[in-house]
Protein backbone atom coordinates (compact mmCIF):
# COMPACT_ATOMS: atom_id res chain seq x y z
CA UNK A 1 0.00 0.00 0.00
CA UNK A 2 1.21 3.52 -0.84
CA UNK A 3 2.38 5.80 1.93
CA UNK A 4 -0.65 7.99 2.91
CA UNK A 5 1.47 11.14 2.59
CA UNK A 6 2.10 10.48 -1.12
CA UNK A 7 -1.47 9.38 -1.77
CA UNK A 8 -2.74 12.69 -0.37
CA UNK A 9 -0.23 14.60 -2.49
CA UNK A 10 -1.28 12.66 -5.62
CA UNK A 11 -4.97 13.37 -5.01
CA UNK A 12 -4.32 17.06 -4.36
CA UNK A 13 -2.32 17.28 -7.59
CA UNK A 14 -5.09 15.49 -9.51
CA UNK A 15 -7.73 17.89 -8.18
CA UNK A 16 -5.57 20.86 -9.23
CA UNK A 17 -4.67 19.54 -12.68
CA UNK A 18 -7.77 17.61 -13.79
CA UNK A 19 -9.82 19.72 -16.20
CA UNK A 20 -13.05 18.70 -14.46
CA UNK A 21 -11.96 20.38 -11.24
CA UNK A 22 -8.88 22.65 -11.51
CA UNK A 23 -9.32 23.48 -7.83
CA UNK A 24 -6.07 24.64 -6.20
CA UNK A 25 -7.16 25.21 -2.61
CA UNK A 26 -8.50 21.79 -1.58
CA UNK A 27 -6.89 20.16 1.44
CA UNK A 28 -6.49 16.37 1.26
CA UNK A 29 -5.82 14.14 4.27
CA UNK A 30 -5.49 10.36 4.35
CA UNK A 31 -6.02 8.35 7.56
CA UNK A 32 -5.82 4.60 7.04
CA UNK A 33 -8.22 3.77 4.19
CA UNK A 34 -10.21 7.00 4.63
CA UNK A 35 -9.60 10.09 2.50
CA UNK A 36 -10.88 13.52 3.56
CA UNK A 37 -11.38 16.57 1.34
CA UNK A 38 -11.76 20.04 2.88
CA UNK A 39 -12.11 23.53 1.47
CA UNK A 40 -14.57 25.61 -0.53
CA UNK A 41 -15.81 25.61 -4.11
CA UNK A 42 -18.20 27.87 -5.98
CA UNK A 43 -20.95 25.41 -6.96
CA UNK A 44 -22.67 22.07 -6.32
CA UNK A 45 -21.39 20.59 -9.60
CA UNK A 46 -17.80 21.29 -8.57
CA UNK A 47 -18.44 19.63 -5.23
CA UNK A 48 -19.45 16.31 -6.80
CA UNK A 49 -16.65 16.37 -9.38
CA UNK A 50 -14.11 16.62 -6.55
CA UNK A 51 -15.34 13.29 -5.20
CA UNK A 52 -15.09 11.69 -8.68
CA UNK A 53 -11.53 12.91 -9.27
CA UNK A 54 -10.40 11.90 -5.76
CA UNK A 55 -11.89 8.39 -6.14
CA UNK A 56 -10.12 7.88 -9.45
CA UNK A 57 -6.79 9.10 -8.09
CA UNK A 58 -7.01 6.94 -4.96
CA UNK A 59 -8.97 3.78 -5.79
CA UNK A 60 -9.75 1.63 -2.78
CA UNK A 61 -10.00 4.54 -0.33
CA UNK A 62 -13.29 5.81 1.05
CA UNK A 63 -13.68 9.46 0.10
CA UNK A 64 -15.27 11.82 2.62
CA UNK A 65 -16.06 15.07 0.86
CA UNK A 66 -16.31 17.79 3.53
CA UNK A 67 -15.92 20.62 1.02
CA UNK A 68 -18.56 23.35 1.18
CA UNK A 69 -20.01 25.71 -1.42
CA UNK A 70 -19.32 29.42 -1.05
CA UNK A 71 -22.56 31.20 -0.33
CA UNK A 72 -22.60 34.62 -1.98
CA UNK A 73 -24.54 37.11 0.11
CA UNK A 74 -25.60 40.69 -0.66
CA UNK A 75 -22.82 43.30 -0.81
CA UNK A 76 -23.39 44.64 2.72
CA UNK A 77 -21.86 47.73 4.30
CA UNK A 78 -19.16 49.84 2.72
CA UNK A 79 -15.83 50.44 4.43
CA UNK A 80 -14.58 54.00 4.77
CA UNK A 81 -10.88 54.35 3.99
Amino acid sequence: MDTPHYVAARVQQAIAEDGRTNELGIRVDVRGDQLFLRGQVSGEDQLHLLTDVAREAAPGLTVHNEVTCVEVRDPGEEEHL
Binding site: G25, E78, H80
Partner: protein
Amino acid sequence: MSIRVAAVADIHLDPAQRGSYRAHLDGIEERADVLLVGGDLTRHGTLDEGKIVAEEFQGLPVPVVFVLGNHDYHSDAEQEIIAVLRESGGIVLDDSAETLLDGRLGVAGGKGFGGGFAGKSASEFGEPETKAFVRHTREIADRWRVALKSLDTEYRVVLSHYSPVKETLAGEPPEIFPFLGSYLLAEAVDAEGADLIIHGHAHAGTEKGMTPGGIRVRNVALPVLRRAYATYCLDSEEC
Protein backbone atom coordinates in the same frame (compact mmCIF):
# COMPACT_ATOMS: atom_id res chain seq x y z
CA MET B 1 -15.10 64.40 -3.29
CA SER B 2 -15.25 60.75 -2.31
CA ILE B 3 -15.25 57.78 -4.68
CA ARG B 4 -16.87 54.43 -3.89
CA VAL B 5 -15.01 51.43 -5.27
CA ALA B 6 -16.73 48.03 -5.49
CA ALA B 7 -14.35 45.08 -5.78
CA VAL B 8 -14.43 41.29 -6.12
CA ALA B 9 -12.09 38.56 -7.42
CA ASP B 10 -12.04 34.81 -8.04
CA ILE B 11 -15.55 34.51 -9.42
CA HIS B 12 -14.44 31.47 -11.50
CA LEU B 13 -17.38 31.49 -13.92
CA ASP B 14 -18.08 28.46 -16.10
CA PRO B 15 -21.10 27.50 -18.24
CA ALA B 16 -22.92 25.99 -15.24
CA GLN B 17 -22.92 29.40 -13.54
CA ARG B 18 -24.04 31.54 -16.45
CA GLY B 19 -26.20 34.39 -15.10
CA SER B 20 -25.70 33.49 -11.45
CA TYR B 21 -23.32 36.30 -10.56
CA ARG B 22 -25.11 38.96 -12.61
CA ALA B 23 -28.11 38.75 -10.29
CA HIS B 24 -25.94 40.13 -7.47
CA LEU B 25 -24.97 43.21 -9.50
CA ASP B 26 -28.45 44.76 -9.62
CA GLY B 27 -28.40 48.19 -8.06
CA ILE B 28 -24.60 48.44 -7.98
CA GLU B 29 -24.81 52.04 -9.23
CA GLU B 30 -26.41 53.02 -5.90
CA ARG B 31 -23.52 51.53 -3.96
CA ALA B 32 -20.45 52.25 -6.08
CA ASP B 33 -18.97 54.46 -8.81
CA VAL B 34 -16.79 51.73 -10.32
CA LEU B 35 -16.40 47.92 -10.13
CA LEU B 36 -12.94 46.33 -10.03
CA VAL B 37 -12.62 42.59 -10.74
CA GLY B 38 -9.31 41.10 -9.62
CA GLY B 39 -8.75 38.06 -11.81
CA ASP B 40 -9.64 34.37 -11.92
CA LEU B 41 -12.69 35.36 -13.87
CA THR B 42 -12.91 31.85 -15.38
CA ARG B 43 -12.31 28.30 -14.21
CA HIS B 44 -10.19 26.91 -17.06
CA GLY B 45 -9.27 30.05 -18.99
CA THR B 46 -11.13 29.06 -22.16
CA LEU B 47 -12.51 31.60 -24.61
CA ASP B 48 -16.03 30.22 -24.04
CA GLU B 49 -15.72 30.94 -20.33
CA GLY B 50 -14.32 34.38 -21.19
CA LYS B 51 -17.45 35.07 -23.23
CA ILE B 52 -19.63 34.12 -20.25
CA VAL B 53 -17.68 36.62 -18.09
CA ALA B 54 -18.13 39.31 -20.75
CA GLU B 55 -21.92 38.69 -20.83
CA GLU B 56 -22.14 38.70 -17.05
CA PHE B 57 -20.66 42.21 -16.72
CA GLN B 58 -21.88 43.75 -19.97
CA GLY B 59 -24.04 46.88 -19.84
CA LEU B 60 -23.58 47.68 -16.15
CA PRO B 61 -24.29 51.31 -15.24
CA VAL B 62 -20.79 51.72 -13.72
CA PRO B 63 -17.41 51.21 -15.44
CA VAL B 64 -15.93 47.72 -14.91
CA VAL B 65 -12.15 47.20 -14.72
CA PHE B 66 -10.67 43.69 -14.96
CA VAL B 67 -7.30 42.04 -14.57
CA LEU B 68 -6.80 38.36 -15.37
CA GLY B 69 -5.68 35.67 -12.92
CA ASN B 70 -3.71 32.44 -13.21
CA HIS B 71 -6.84 30.41 -14.11
CA ASP B 72 -7.49 32.78 -17.02
CA TYR B 73 -4.07 31.83 -18.46
CA HIS B 74 -4.55 28.06 -18.21
CA SER B 75 -5.79 27.47 -21.79
CA ASP B 76 -3.36 29.92 -23.45
CA ALA B 77 -6.33 32.05 -24.51
CA GLU B 78 -5.59 35.08 -22.33
CA GLN B 79 -5.30 37.52 -25.24
CA GLU B 80 -8.62 36.31 -26.71
CA ILE B 81 -10.29 36.66 -23.28
CA ILE B 82 -8.92 40.20 -22.96
CA ALA B 83 -10.29 40.99 -26.43
CA VAL B 84 -13.85 39.76 -25.69
CA LEU B 85 -13.93 41.64 -22.39
CA ARG B 86 -12.87 44.83 -24.16
CA GLU B 87 -15.39 44.28 -26.97
CA SER B 88 -18.14 44.02 -24.35
CA GLY B 89 -17.21 47.43 -22.93
CA GLY B 90 -14.94 46.33 -20.07
CA ILE B 91 -11.56 47.88 -19.29
CA VAL B 92 -8.77 45.32 -18.96
CA LEU B 93 -5.48 46.23 -17.31
CA ASP B 94 -2.44 44.27 -18.47
CA ASP B 95 0.34 46.03 -16.52
CA SER B 96 -1.19 49.31 -17.61
CA ALA B 97 -3.29 52.17 -16.25
CA GLU B 98 -6.63 53.80 -17.05
CA THR B 99 -8.16 57.08 -15.96
CA LEU B 100 -11.87 56.97 -15.08
CA LEU B 101 -14.68 59.09 -13.66
CA ASP B 102 -13.74 62.32 -15.42
CA GLY B 103 -10.11 62.06 -14.44
CA ARG B 104 -10.76 61.61 -10.71
CA LEU B 105 -9.80 57.93 -10.42
CA GLY B 106 -6.74 56.20 -11.82
CA VAL B 107 -6.53 52.41 -11.76
CA ALA B 108 -3.23 50.67 -12.49
CA GLY B 109 -2.20 47.02 -12.37
CA GLY B 110 -2.37 43.62 -13.94
CA LYS B 111 -2.17 39.96 -12.99
CA GLY B 112 0.90 40.29 -10.74
CA PHE B 113 2.83 37.13 -9.87
CA GLY B 114 4.53 35.21 -7.05
CA GLY B 115 8.00 34.85 -5.55
CA GLY B 116 7.38 35.35 -1.86
CA PHE B 117 7.88 38.04 0.71
CA ALA B 118 10.86 40.02 1.96
CA GLY B 119 13.46 37.83 3.63
CA LYS B 120 11.77 34.61 2.49
CA SER B 121 11.54 35.06 -1.25
CA ALA B 122 13.01 33.49 -4.36
CA SER B 123 16.01 35.21 -6.00
CA GLU B 124 17.04 35.65 -9.61
CA PHE B 125 19.80 33.09 -9.16
CA GLY B 126 20.63 29.57 -10.33
CA GLU B 127 18.68 27.61 -12.90
CA PRO B 128 17.08 29.48 -15.82
CA GLU B 129 13.62 28.34 -14.65
CA THR B 130 14.13 29.96 -11.24
CA LYS B 131 15.51 33.12 -12.76
CA ALA B 132 12.60 33.34 -15.22
CA PHE B 133 10.07 32.94 -12.39
CA VAL B 134 11.53 35.80 -10.35
CA ARG B 135 12.25 37.97 -13.40
CA HIS B 136 8.58 37.74 -14.45
CA THR B 137 7.51 39.36 -11.16
CA ARG B 138 10.31 41.93 -11.27
CA GLU B 139 9.33 43.02 -14.78
CA ILE B 140 5.67 43.27 -13.78
CA ALA B 141 6.59 45.45 -10.79
CA ASP B 142 8.65 47.70 -13.07
CA ARG B 143 5.72 48.09 -15.47
CA TRP B 144 3.43 48.95 -12.54
CA ARG B 145 5.80 51.77 -11.56
CA VAL B 146 5.55 53.18 -15.08
CA ALA B 147 1.75 52.75 -15.09
CA LEU B 148 1.36 54.51 -11.73
CA LYS B 149 3.64 57.35 -12.80
CA SER B 150 1.38 57.97 -15.79
CA LEU B 151 -1.65 58.68 -13.57
CA ASP B 152 -2.41 62.24 -12.55
CA THR B 153 -5.70 61.69 -10.74
CA GLU B 154 -7.30 62.56 -7.40
CA TYR B 155 -7.22 58.90 -6.28
CA ARG B 156 -5.09 55.98 -7.41
CA VAL B 157 -6.03 52.33 -6.93
CA VAL B 158 -3.96 49.29 -7.88
CA LEU B 159 -5.78 46.17 -9.11
CA SER B 160 -3.95 42.83 -9.04
CA HIS B 161 -4.68 39.13 -8.85
CA TYR B 162 -1.64 38.09 -6.79
CA SER B 163 -1.06 39.60 -3.36
CA PRO B 164 1.52 42.30 -2.61
CA VAL B 165 1.62 41.47 1.13
CA LYS B 166 1.53 38.51 3.51
CA GLU B 167 -1.10 39.96 5.85
CA THR B 168 -4.00 39.25 3.52
CA LEU B 169 -2.78 35.66 3.07
CA ALA B 170 -3.36 34.82 6.75
CA GLY B 171 -5.29 31.55 6.76
CA GLU B 172 -3.39 30.06 3.80
CA PRO B 173 -0.56 27.56 4.52
CA PRO B 174 2.67 29.65 4.84
CA GLU B 175 4.47 27.07 2.66
CA ILE B 176 2.55 28.29 -0.41
CA PHE B 177 2.97 32.05 0.18
CA PRO B 178 5.62 32.28 -2.60
CA PHE B 179 2.93 31.12 -5.05
CA LEU B 180 0.39 33.61 -3.77
CA GLY B 181 2.26 36.88 -4.18
CA SER B 182 5.40 38.94 -3.98
CA TYR B 183 6.71 41.85 -1.95
CA LEU B 184 8.10 43.30 -5.20
CA LEU B 185 4.53 44.37 -6.08
CA ALA B 186 4.11 46.22 -2.77
CA GLU B 187 7.55 47.80 -3.08
CA ALA B 188 6.65 49.23 -6.49
CA VAL B 189 3.32 50.65 -5.28
CA ASP B 190 4.85 52.05 -2.08
CA ALA B 191 7.47 53.85 -4.20
CA GLU B 192 4.89 55.47 -6.50
CA GLY B 193 2.02 55.90 -4.07
CA ALA B 194 -1.62 54.75 -4.18
CA ASP B 195 -4.73 54.96 -2.01
CA LEU B 196 -5.68 51.28 -2.10
CA ILE B 197 -4.49 47.92 -3.48
CA ILE B 198 -7.08 45.30 -4.42
CA HIS B 199 -6.17 41.63 -5.02
CA GLY B 200 -7.61 38.12 -4.96
CA HIS B 201 -6.08 34.64 -5.50
CA ALA B 202 -5.88 33.63 -1.81
CA HIS B 203 -9.25 31.96 -1.21
CA ALA B 204 -8.42 31.07 2.39
CA GLY B 205 -6.82 34.43 3.18
CA THR B 206 -8.02 37.51 5.04
CA GLU B 207 -9.66 40.67 3.68
CA LYS B 208 -7.61 43.40 5.32
CA GLY B 209 -3.91 44.20 5.29
CA MET B 210 -1.42 46.99 4.67
CA THR B 211 1.84 47.48 2.79
CA PRO B 212 5.06 48.32 4.67
CA GLY B 213 4.53 51.89 3.38
CA GLY B 214 1.03 52.09 4.89
CA ILE B 215 -1.15 51.60 1.81
CA ARG B 216 -4.33 49.66 2.57
CA VAL B 217 -4.56 46.23 0.89
CA ARG B 218 -7.83 44.32 0.47
CA ASN B 219 -8.14 40.66 -0.55
CA VAL B 220 -11.52 40.50 -2.27
CA ALA B 221 -11.49 36.81 -3.30
CA LEU B 222 -15.14 35.72 -3.30
CA PRO B 223 -14.60 32.93 -0.72
CA VAL B 224 -12.95 35.51 1.60
CA LEU B 225 -15.69 38.12 1.21
CA ARG B 226 -18.63 35.67 1.16
CA ARG B 227 -20.60 38.53 -0.33
CA ALA B 228 -21.10 39.63 -3.93
CA TYR B 229 -18.50 42.41 -3.69
CA ALA B 230 -16.92 44.69 -1.12
CA THR B 231 -17.35 48.46 -1.29
CA TYR B 232 -14.63 50.88 -0.20
CA CYS B 233 -15.20 54.62 0.08
CA LEU B 234 -12.04 56.61 -0.60
CA ASP B 235 -11.72 59.82 1.43
CA SER B 236 -13.28 59.00 4.78
CA GLU B 237 -14.02 62.64 5.61
CA GLU B 238 -16.71 62.75 2.96
CA CYS B 239 -17.92 59.16 3.07
